[in-house]
């Protein structure tokens, strides 16, 4: 396939998740299981011969969700709630819901979709050995519940194979972000986002083939020397798409990210720890520099600085999900660190339900000018 074809394929998948999931399930004779953002042991789902589907909300008008959630819940969970009640997720056989924050804790208890919900906990005191054991047990219980719901056996062999596949996928994604950073004309902010997002809606095996092919082809293209400003984006997600189009019209390239929906998904491999579930548990123990993984040393802050240097970025855009506690607490610290490091920073507010982006546009414009200074 030509580069353009591969990219268009990704864009189509990202633009019509329903269709993509359905077709991928049919092609591969699999079922779909949802993972409410941000994290889930997708490998277990995959080993159950299912396609893990990332549920990250979307641009949907809130109607029923208003009954179940106060207005001050993050917009991503508002949209997920709306989709639950609308029947959008009826294709799913089960959903996994991690109790990562107060919103998600409650969310795991109030699932309104048709399929069963499996709430689970990521331990946060990861310095103690028993955290790994605890998580291994959580994973055992998820495995058991999935086996019962789906009427399948999840074998150790299948788990190990799926870990290998997912580690390959993570590696390919990390390569992609590196290559994309020097091909920002072809891989515009919107395209970059859509490519990464597409991974949530098809079989990872298929996705891996596409992304590897794209990586290979892109690598053979000359480096693109764009005059655009280069930024690293941080936060939960950079959506709605309306925002990304302003990045493009203002000449801002996304060269790297620290988004939960994007790079945080593939920055930590599953290490080999013998048993498959133990290995999966250890991945979480090793997962650092993330606002959602407890860390009194705030490695995320230094990580952001490192990303800026690594990608030779001109600044950082913090895409702050409104009403997201884990992210909001980091803001003042990021602000002061960036000031100290002389790295331009812009904080924009993310609301999936927003329709007008003039204000963000104006602020981005000001930001571009400030980076010129």
């Amino acid at each position: 396939m030509e580069i353009n074809q591969i990219i268009n394929n990704f864009i189509q998948i990202a633009n019509s998740p329903d269709k993509a999931i359905k077709q991928s399930c049919e092609r591969n004779h699999k079922n779909a299981v949802g993972c409410v953002a941000p994290y889930a042991p997708e490998e277990i789902i995959y080993a159950a011969n299912c396609i893990p589907v990332g549920l990250w909300g979307g641009e949907v008008e809130l109607r029923k969700a208003r009954t179940y959630l106060p207005a001050f819940a993050c917009s991503i969970m508002q949209s997920v709630m709306e989709y639950e009640t609308k029947g959008t997720y009826d294709i799913l056989k089960a959903v996994l819901i991690p109790a990562m924050c107060d919103t998600l804790k409650c969310f795991g208890q109030k699932w309104k979709g048709a399929c069963p919900a499996i709430p689970f906990v990521y331990p946060q005191n990861r310095r103690v050995k028993s955290a790994e054991l605890f998580l291994e047990n959580e994973y055992k219980s998820i495995t058991k519940k999935l086996e019962d719901i789906l009427n399948v056996d999840i074998t150790e062999k299948a788990l190990k194979e799926s870990i290998i596949l997912y580690n390959d996928y993570r590696l390919a994604m990390r390569e992609f972000t590196e290559i994309a950073a020097v091909h920002t004309t072809t891989i515009s902010p919107t395209v970059r986002h859509q490519i990464i997002k597409a991974s949530y809606f098809i079989d990872k095996k298929e996705y891996l083939c596409y992304i590897r092919e794209l990586n290979e082809k892109l690598r053979l293209q000359p480096v693109e020397h764009s005059k655009n400003k280069r930024v690293v984006v941080s936060g939960i997600m950079l959506e709605p798409k309306g925002i990304l189009s302003h990045f493009e019209s203002l000449g801002i390239d996304v060269v790297g990210d620290d988004l939960a929906q994007e790079t945080r998904q593939f920055m930590t491999d599953v290490p080999f720890a013998g048993d498959a579930l133990k290995s999966l548990a250890r991945q979480w123990i090793n997962h650092n520099a993330c606002s959602l993984a407890f860390d009194p040393y705030k490695q995320r802050i230094q990580h952001l600085v490192d990303l800026v240097h690594h990608f030779k970025a001109d600044g950082v855009v913090l895409a702050l999900m409104k009403f997201c506690d884990p992210e909001e607490y980091d803001v003042p610290i990021i602000m002061s660190k960036m000031k100290e490091e002389n790295i331009p920073l812009l904080v924009i507010e993310i609301d999936q339900q927003a329709k007008a982006f003039e204000q963000i546009n104006t602020r981005l414009q000001g930001f571009v000018e400030s980076m010129d200074d």
């Binding site: 959630l69 001050f72 819940a73 109030k110 028993s130 409104k322 607490y329 904080v347």
Partner: protein, 412 residues
Amino acid sequence: MSIINESMTSKEMLNILVAKNMEDARKAKERGDLVCWSSSIAPCEFCEAMGIYTVYPENHVVGIAARKGAPELLEYAERKGYSNDICGYARANLAYMDVQKCVSEELPLPDLVLLCNNICETLLKWYENIAYELNIPLLIVDVPYNHDKEITEENIQYVEAQFHDIIHQLEVICNKPFDEKKFQEVMKVSAQNAKDWYDATMLCSARPSPLSGFDMFNYMALIVCMRGKKECGMTFRKLKEELEEKISRGECGLKNAEEKYRIMWDGIACWPYLSHTYKVLKKHGINMTGSTYPSAWALEYTPGNLFEMAKAYTGMGNNLSLEGQINLRKSIIEETQCDGVIMHMNRSCKMCDFLQYEVGKELNDSLNIPITTFDGDQADPRNYSKAQYETRMEALVEMMSENIPSRNSSGN
């Protein structure tokens, strides 16, 4: 010698002790002894055993908010970059950490922090920030959410393992061996205090209730701040005696008012408007007899048994599944014979709010009990409207009176 004695009323004891606790911590800081900031339902037993002075930011902000001093701190936090939808306790405390000045008692800065997320995950981020900004050690008891009906062995084992880790960390921080003997004593005291707290506060089951629920909000300071100290239990035993006397006289906890309706208050008090929220209820003869507070600190465990202790800290109301939270409320409503429920839609606390719809619906359906909600905030005065509160309470009274025709006809 104790600074309180049996001739004092429980209220006198309370005031002396709360002031003393803060004073002791300030003096300790001056002397160079260790001061710890702790979340409100964290296991205090370990620091207490090591002679570390512990103070409680949540309780400190309550004092500030009730004296109407929160806005300055909240504004400071916002200027610093904290979004105004973050928990008001956290915002005010993080601001206080910088400015160290407030309208209430001054809180000495910590040398270490202890957090236990059995009430919310917000604490993780809040305490992360304190530890990072002050560059001090952080002790954490990570309590997994009980997403299923039962509290699992795995959850408890994970918590218990962390207790051992804390002991080890404290030895390093304090540079001395863990004081096992003192620890045993403290556990006994804490367990007794928790029981005394529960016994006293549950006397609001009597009809009329001898205690105004709003008075209980005051006594709460003690169970939060001094659960590891003997004087705490002495005060609650005294309170219990006083309440028993009131019961024998048929006296009601509402000052100069008759108890016509009994409600369960669901959520945290609206501290900046404590007096308004109370007076409106009193005007209607409503007493708050039910709340989740008596059970919140009723941490029952056999002293010396760390597994049981871990279980007690894991089974907190906020940490229960939806079903567990509903059952907890059902039993409170039944035990304290409530006629209605007031739910505080607290802009500060997602954990208190995001299951309200489901909890309310189930209570309403199964107990046929009227429920009202109002918008407020435990610390930020901007999120409360007196008019809305008044209207909602009127509506609640109307619904309750329909449910209790006999009491309604007995006249106003």
